[in-house]
């Protein structure tokens, strides 16, 4: 056993290591647990929960692009009630930190979801999705509007004592302005980035490959953009950042932490390698040994510009 300490803190939220599995890429944990030991993962961010179940978008929902994929799932989810009844019992047993991601179509719905779910002991923090690019109501409509993001943050903050993380859209000119607003409204942290809006066409039918016309681009193709956004927030706002965007291996995770992330979320890689989380955690330990540090948190925002 190495003496490396991988613990990090996101505001008051302590994580055994900085590797989280991103919302929408891990369901509610049960499926991926057949391929990986979730108890070793720093945390699991649930698929976005809305007050009522959402059917999601019609097919085709996903398409691969060069170095990435576009998705327009449309926040398909079981809704708060079913989540509590059938998903929380499993999440209670996994012995990882459960962060509940909430999506909504109105400020009231965000507040109501948070108010109900904050009663659940299994949930240790909330990640508020103000930036889903694939639903007509809510989502990016909020995510691109600084005052709407501020209002949602303040109101959700008032509905729970648990840490509140706001998941920011990269589809804005200055992401750090949004980070500033959510900090002033009481958010504990930000996660960045959600997917980038993109599209792809079939050249023979001249139709978009995704039924929703546009989708969210994820995967290694977006990593440089995500890193730049994390760095921008880190240089301008004093708030913990969870870095997300195309992390495929431990080297990518280290890069995000150097750029300012206190923790990272793995997304698309889970679809390809459902055991990636554990491989990356092991890689982080080895990296600490190689550069001769005892605690991973020493590398957070350690950029030399």
């Amino acid at each position: 056993m190495s003496g490396i300490n991988l613990k990090v803190k996101i505001g008051s939220l302590e994580l055994k290591n900085p590797v989280l599995l991103a919302s929408g890429t891990v369901g509610y944990g049960n499926e991926i647990s057949q391929f990986t030991d979730l108890s070793k993962i720093g945390g699991i961010v649930t698929k976005s929960i809305s007050l009522k179940p959402r059917k999601g978008n019609p097919p085709q929902r996903i398409v691969e692009t060069h170095g990435g994929m576009l998705n327009a799932i449309g926040l398909a989810n079981v809704g708060v009630e079913e989540f509590i009844n059938s998903k929380i019992p499993f999440l209670k047993e996994v012995n990882s930190t459960v962060i509940c991601n909430i999506a909504a179509s109105s400020v009231e719905e965000y507040v109501e979801c948070t108010r109900i779910l904050t009663e659940e002991d299994a949930i240790k923090a909330f990640e508020i999705n103000v930036s889903c690019p694939n639903v007509k109501d809510g989502g990016l409509e909020f995510g691109h509007n600084p005052s709407a993001v501020g209002t949602i943050t303040g109101r959700v903050r008032g509905a729970t004592n648990k840490p509140v993380i706001i998941k920011l859209s990269p589809n804005v000119s200055r992401i750090s302005d949004f980070a500033k607003i959510v900090k002033s409204e009481g958010a504990d942290a930000v996660s960045a980035i959600n997917t980038l809006v993109g599209t792809a066409f079939n050249i023979w039918t001249k139709k978009p490959k995704i039924k929703n016309i546009t989708g969210g681009l994820s995967g290694p193709a977006i990593k440089p953009v995500a890193l730049a956004k994390v760095l921008e927030i880190s240089r301008n706002v004093d708030i913990p950042i969870i870095g997300i965007g195309g992390i495929m291996n431990w080297q990518d995770a280290v890069e995000f932490m150097i750029a300012g992330a206190a923790a990272v979320e793995l997304g698309t890689v889970n679809f390809v390698n459902p055991n990636a989380g554990i491989e990356i955690i092991n890689g982080l330990t080895e990296y600490c040994e190689k550069i001769n540090i005892k605690e991973i948190k020493e590398i957070i925002a350690s950029y030399q510009l």
């Binding site: 369901g27 391929f35 019609p58 097919p59 889970n270 679809f271 459902p274």
Partner: protein
Amino acid sequence: MLTEIAEVVTVKKYGSNTNLIKVHAPGIASKAEPGQFCNIKVSETNFPLLRRPFSICEVKGEHLFFMFDIQGEGTSILGCKKKGDKLNILGPLGNGFNTGIEFDTAVIVAGGIGAAPFPFLLSRLKKKKVICLVGGRSEAQIITYGMKNIYISTDDGSNGFKGTVVQLAERIKDKFTGGKVQFFACGPNAMLKALKQFCMENNFSCQVSTESAMACGFGICQGCPMPAANEEKYYLVCKDGPVFNAKDIIL
């Protein structure tokens, strides 16, 4: 379900554009059921990024067989594999054909590369009467590998009945006798849709193996919705399918 690093044993050309790859994957082979699929990483790099889903064509001892047409980047890479190459395979995935139900005669309907899952299914139907209907655009797309008691159709008439495989079914439906008849089908969506109609009109039970773009293959990406017929919801092709009762879905 597991991930297994499988060694390629052979890749054989079958017809003009079809390949049959044999890999050594004892873990998956011991668990696989007909109609299930595997999600295969065709490269060791991030390109192509996602795995590719393939029906399990056949299981022989510790070996799995996958049949595929070369259609894009993923299948082109897979078609170039050599003996000894390694493939990272996730499987077996999804729900396969339900053969536990009562029936005496199996009617197999395969369109083009939709023939892929049937050699494995037929290996489990040795005590049943089996009729195979195999269709394709032209003779080059007719795949009869592992089939028996075969009737062929081609759109251009270059082999067998001239017309679609569902028109062929209509033409020879007086042969679908011998106790309770169960259809098993796989092929393009238009074919499955027409076959569902035919089976409903003639009161035949029909299981269809469907396909969809997908990322993970086991339910976490939610990328492969299939509209449910009787409820306001989507099934997932990967987890609830890929085999469905035709009456349960909207094709």
